[in-house]
């Protein structure tokens, strides 16, 4: 099972790089979503994938039956999914607000923070003043 996951991680990473190298910030965010999936799969696979029982303790017992699955990677993934979800939401709102203010999602044309005279971002510079 691990080789399949490994290939899947590779495919996700390749797609991530492709999307992130685009100039649109929206594409970048989609890349980010794929990247966090890839990271989660890495944790999943590196924790060891086994066909085993859920790590639950039966009533009346003090320890689980043998051959239980490792619960730690799953706990890590769950935390990571929640965190990456919240950050993704933030990034989407940020993209929307940036589009509202700068009227572009093209990262090459976002020059408000680093205005340069050679650039066509003279209007962005104008905005940065006020």
């Amino acid at each position: 099972m691990e080789p399949v996951i490994a290939v899947l991680v590779g495919v996700l990473m390749a797609a991530t790089v492709y999307l992130m190298l685009g100039r649109s910030f929206v594409r970048f965010i989609f890349g980010l979503a794929l990247l966090s999936h890839a990271a989660n799969l890495v944790i999943f696979a590196s924790g060891g994938m086994t066909r085993a029982r859920p790590p639950l303790i039966a009533p009346g017992e003090s320890q689980p039956l043998p051959d239980v699955a490792n619960a730690v990677p799953q706990a890590l993934m769950l935390t990571a999914i929640v965190i990456s979800f919240s950050l993704l939401t933030f990034a989407l709102v940020l993209a929307f607000r940036t589009y509202q203010e700068l009227e572009t999602v093209d990262t090459d044309r976002m020059r408000a923070a680093e205005p340069s005279s050679a650039d066509a971002g003279a209007d962005a510079e104008q905005r940065a003043v006020d």
Binding site: I43, G47, L76, T79, F90, R97, A124
Partner: protein, 505 residues
């Protein structure tokens, strides 16, 4: 004593929540924010005292024994960093009282500031790498929100860059944690330190170490991964810039100290040199106060990497001394730049002038951190640079010592440029009259600057306590057996020799 380890996380979190709940009333919010910051400082001072007297302190949350439960550990390094963070937090809160009038801005600013401090302290005290990641994210979310607070176009633009690179870095860090868990079967740092040496495939371990280095390198803005920093740090509120510049990259940097697993130190030496030079050259070409200072952060990070790259106790000592000195000085310079903006109406060097005559106190207060940054005796920067250069010469790394000295000289150039343009030359006619500021607000701006300047001066004149602290921290990092013992208990045989490549904890 257990509560002392939890307090630096719980106090700012409580201050953030209560401050947010009481945001409607200016008086309540300010009181909560101030009490939170003072409380954090007191807890941090107490923690530092305990660690200083009794050595490494650790606590197992909920009495789940390490390595299975959540562990908080304070060694000399983390206790010192928590103390400095608390100091900067307190200064920032007071500065923000003077800088931001009560309104939607300050309503959000204070709770977020405390949330950020909670994340910072948590990251310093975390005893396992997954908790570290979580505190990291707390810090990241708070800092992203602080960065866009106000919503001006250049802030959003800066935040896009900051968010993009930070999010990649944290995802990389997460993958690295996953891989490391796969290799060693543990997340606890003390346990990791032991297990890492038992891993058979050391090549894989080096790979994982490189993932960590790239992730931390992105976050701490080393060459060639620094581009996001000067694009974003000058855009938010001054108080925010100050706390960012003081703390964020340095948090990560402190983590590099700990997680230095196995890679060539030769490579790091190159990174250090290039980071120093690019940062200082970038600063030389800038004409806006806060952008100059942002580039200087990068060059200063080069110095800290240098201490790490040398990988001797003395080098680490120098680097730790440097980090602490730098946090205080850098945050102070950002405060000064903000005060210049408030009192003179601009932070653009071409639109400034005459401040030496008009605001002599501000000029004096700029002088101390600026020339401490450049490394003039008797200020704190002098000792920091001296230690690092001495450490390089001891290792026969004369080239990097030369680079460090030259970069110091170029720093003087930048600071002199600010001094000449903002303080000495006549105020340009087209600049208009400076804005008026209520005297009370002026004092709130200047008080934290003065306090931090006094700390800088005190470290410069009486460097022995900080030197001893840095020495103890460096010794702990080089021989982490005490750390392992403090966390796992004496039952386990600790490995004393810094095995593969160094001090993996």
């Amino acid at each position: 004593m257990n509560w002392l380890l939890v307090a630096p996380i719980v106090i700012p979190l409580a201050a953030a929540v209560i401050g947010f709940a009481g945001r409607g009333s200016e008086r309540t919010q300010r009181a909560v924010s101030l009490v939170g910051a003072v409380g954090l400082s007191a807890a941090a001072a107490g923690l530092l005292t305990v660690v200083w007297r009794e050595g490494i302190a650790s606590v197992q949350i909920g009495r789940w024994p390490a390595p299975y439960g959540i562990t908080l550990v304070a060694d000399h390094l983390s206790a010192a960093m928590v103390a400095v963070s608390a100091l900067i937090g307190l200064a920032t809160v007071i500065y923000a009282f003077g800088d931001t009038r009560h309104g939607p801005l300050s309503q959000a600013l204070h709770p977020l500031l405390h949330a950020l401090l909670a994340g910072v302290c948590g990251a310093f005290l975390a005893g396992d790498i997954f908790n570290l990641y979580v505190w990291f994210e707390v810090m990241l979310i708070a800092s992203l929100a602080l960065l866009v607070l106000g919503g001006r176009p250049e802030q959003l633009d800066g935040a896009v860059r900051y968010a993009a690179l930070s999010l990649i870095a944290t995802t990389l860090l997460l993958s690295g944690i996953g891989l490391l868990y796969g290799l060693t079967g543990t997340l606890n740092m003390a346990e990791l330190h032991v297990r890492v040496q038992e891993v058979e495939d050391q090549g894989l371990l080096t790979l994982v170490a490189m993932v960590f280095i790239v992730a931390f390198g992105l976050k701490s803005a080393v060459f060639p991964l620094f581009f996001w920093l000067p694009a974003s740090y000058h855009t938010p509120q001054t108080a925010v810039s100050a706390v960012f510049s003081g703390l964020l990259t340095k948090v990560v940097f402190t983590l590099i100290f700990r997680h230095d697993v196995g890679y060539t130190h030769e490579l790091l030496l190159w990174v250090a040199g290039l980071t120093m030079v690019t940062g200082v050259l970038g600063a030389a070409s800038q004409n806006e106060l806060r952008r100059i200072l942002s580039f200087h952060i990068i060059s200063q990070i080069g110095y800290m990497i240098l201490g790490l790259a040398l990988f001797t106790t003395f080098g680490l000592l120098g680097a730790i001394f440097y980090v602490i000195h730098h946090i205080i000085v850098k945050a102070n310079l950002f405060f000064v730049s903000g005060a210049v903006g408030r009192l003179a109406g601009s932070t653009d060097l071409e639109r400034l002038g005459g401040l030496y005559r008009d605001k002599p106190l501000l000029a004096a207060l700029f002088f101390v951190p600026a020339f401490s940054l450049a490394g003039f005796p008797p200020l704190s920067g002098f000792w920091a640079k001296l230690l690092l250069i001495q450490a390089s010469i001891e290792r026969d790394e004369f080239v990097i010592a030369g680079v460090a000295l030259t970069v110091g000289l170029l720093t003087v150039y930048s600071m002199t440029k600010i001094w000449l343009n903002a303080f000495w030359k006549a105020r340009p006619d087209d600049a208009g009259p400076p804005p008026s500021l209520a005297p009370q607000r002026r004092w709130l701006l200047l008080a934290p600057i003065a306090a931090l300047a006094i700390v800088t001066l005190a470290i410069g004149l009486y460097a022995r306590p900080l030197y001893t602290l840095a020495e103890r921290a460096a010794n702990e990092l080089m021989a982490p057996s005490n750390y392992v013992e403090a966390v796992l208990g004496g039952g386990r045989v600790a490995v004393t020799a810094p095995g593969y490549g160094g001090n993996a904890e």
